[in-house]
Subunit: 222 residues, 2 copies
């Protein structure tokens, strides 16, 4: 009985890890759709989002059944409670990728982005995939060193975001207000995507060590 | 034993309701700080945020203890799992009020907002307080009709947000890109605040009726 239970708990973790991977892939594709003004790819991200939503519902249900049937205690209980919270974070990561894809679709056949900022978004898309992969690894390995890597990736995202804003705020910005609004929102979506990955790592590490990771140098997501 | 347990569960709901009220008040004050360029008020919102964070930690801990000590089943278990998810939503509402206050502080002694959009933000601030109050009432009464009121308030927020964007996108916008960036982010913060209130109502109603409220006309937060 205990063994079947731990198998289920492990399967829940695998589900969450898979969702992180999918969210990263969604953000990668949404970024491509944005950069290439690729309508078909934007549509694909929008359609594929159903899958992440369905997996969220399934993961919540798995966690609920584990609580209901097994009445777990101590560490196991903490793991399941964390899982319920992590579902919300990774679900949101998927929704943020969806938002990016929707802006790409709304602006099609135009490019949403002025060419000047393409490089920033290409890089933010690359970091987003890494964050999805790293969150997955942290979930599967519960390794604090891997969690520290997420901190570095989040720092990279913050730097990109800050530079992007300095480009926007520059008096030389000559792409008008509408493009500035899109770039502001898009930048925010990538930043929040990273925040949620950090939050997932924070929850896993808290669960493993009993300390909030910010005490161990991993900043709290805000 | 069962009675003490239900008292604890009720106290958890009260905690969540109080947090919703505080988040609404925080957004009201942050809005005032923004409109009046009132640094002291902005600082107060920033300081008071600690209280919401501390209450989040406490509410999560209460929920955890209830799960650990009581091994609840069925409806009670669902109520506690929802509570854990609701903590995350209301915590985020507080963080969004904090973000508004921080923009007011960053721009002080300037006003962050061009006078032209003050009216929109005054109104969004008013709706935010109502949303905090309504979320509190939905939590305490579990009344689907009160949940429907949140839908109306969210619609009002969406309308304000849409109008705000049409002002921004207008060729007549003459406040420059920096102000447009602030207005974009601020508008997004109010919109997300409303989304989280809707999500709280959705969770409460799902728990009461077993149906997602969108099946009953309450739109899913996105």
């Amino acid at each position: 009985m205990r063994t079947a239970y731990h198998e289920q708990l492990e399967s829940l973790t695998t589900q969450l890890g898979d969702m992180c991977g999918l969210a990263g892939t969604a953000m990668e594709r949404a970024t491509q759709a944005l950069l290439q003004a690729d309508l078909a790819l934007a549509e694909q991200v929008i359609t594929d989002h159903e899958q992440i939503s369905a997996m969220s519902v399934r993961a919540e249900e798995t966690a609920f059944v584990l609580l209901a049937l097994q009445a777990p205690v101590a560490g196991d209980l903490r793991a399941i409670v964390s899982s319920i919270q992590i579902v919300a974070d990774v679900d949101r990561m998927g929704a943020l990728a969806l938002h990016v894809a929707k802006i790409a679709r709304r602006r099609h056949p135009q490019h949403a982005l002025p060419e000047e900022v393409n490089g920033y978004f290409a890089e933010m898309g690359r970091v987003a995939v890494e964050l999805g992969q790293s969150a997955r690894e942290v979930l599967l390995t519960r390794d604090p060193e891997k969690a520290a890597r997420i901190r570095d990736e989040d720092d990279a995202m913050d730097d990109l975001h800050r530079h992007l804003f300095s480009v926007l705020m520059d008096r030389e910005w000559r792409h008008g207000v509408a493009a500035a609004v899109d770039v502001t929102l898009l930048g925010r979506f990538y930043e929040r995507f990273a925040d949620h990955a950090v939050e997932i790592a924070r929850r896993v590490i808290f669960q493993v060590t009993g300390h909030a990771p910010e005490e161990e140098g991993l900043p709290l997501s805000r």
